[in-house]
Point group: C3
Chain length 153, copies 3
């Protein structure tokens, strides 16, 4: 599992700029405002028309229409709770051949706060996104969600 | 609840720079060091003299003196626990007419760790701040704290 | 505990750039991917050869070999759980005399997710790092971990 020094140096070569870091973080801040408000159509609009999500269980939703239907079916689980997605440890890589394609990996923690203010947690996840810039605006083209599993000891 | 593409494009127009993103994050890192150390006067000093905080319950504290008194009255609830405020998903907008006025929205999670190391959580909040730059230094002029409520399903 | 305005202005004088902020965040994102994967050698490789860690209990590990041995002895506590380290509120200071030495302070929350998806928490910590840039790549030279204690009320 150890990367060689050369691989690490290579990773450092594609160093992300501060401006792109802020742009990607802001994109997610806006996208999560929508999903946490259960604004399903608004959330789907942050994906490309042909965008897809591969859930941790392996289920794949392709295209905004399928995404919207899937999220609508899941709404009852959020009845009576405020859901919030928290991100951390973004790794941002611009495609070497296409500056408008950006791959991002990040950690996610999901809190559910009920009406009395009690906070509970969903399992933690690691997510891999492919973002594209269209008309100057970032959109998610693909999202693959991995449930965090115990590492081999 | 869906923003139009034009509105999103408008939002993208006021794109935050990496330098400002880092400056705002650093401002909050220092401000939270103070509040979490229960350094009430030091925390109040990160507000303008006429700064105000509107708490989730609707209570409004105006000016540093009122803020200090309010926090001092709340100190007993932090006896025996280490409080830490965690932020995420900052959305930073520079005022179109005044580059020294910056509006920031962010998520907050608050942990309380007791002497045995047991962690408990306060309800999650979303905060809207107005920051101003005075003599090159950011200060909070207004803070409005919203308790996260279940969205309509 | 109140800093004077001059001290705060001094802090603002060594303002971190957006590029460095993104670089340091990315360094930690990669370093935490390794520690959370229990990739002990890969984690040790993100330290200088003579790097050291001072744990919250006061125990000091000096050099990569001692670090690897210490982590290997601790592996059983992570059997059957996915560990994730979450960071927040980085304060980044470049050494005034050496631009390749960077001091960073940050908050850490550690989650443990078991096979059923239940999340538990370790106590919160505040960490002080000294990073150095070697051949263009950041490495940790020293890490001091402080368990968060209740502040005096």
């Amino acid at each position: 599992m150890t990367e060689t020094v050369a691989e690490v140096a290579g990773a450092a070569g594609s160093r992300v700029t501060g401006d792109l870091y802020a742009e990607v973080q802001t994109f997610y801040a806006r996208q999560m405002r929508r999903v946490d408000a259960l604004d399903i159509e608004g959330f789907a609009d942050t994906f490309t028309e042909d965008g897809c999500v591969v859930h941790a269980g392996g289920q794949r939703q392709s295209g905004r229409a399928e995404m919207v239907a899937g999220m609508r079916a899941n709404l009852p689980r959020y009845r009576g709770v405020a859901v919030r997605h928290w991100f951390d440890h973004l790794i941002i890589d611009v495609d070497a051949d296409d500056p408008d394609t950006v791959r991002v990996s990040y950690y996610t923690l999901v809190t559910l706060t009920d009406a009395e203010g009690k906070v509970s947690f969903q399992p933690t996840f690691t997510v891999e996104d492919e973002l594209v810039r269209r008309d100057g605006r970032l959109l998610t083209r693909e999202r693959v969600i991995h449930r965090d599993e115990p590492a081999a000891v």
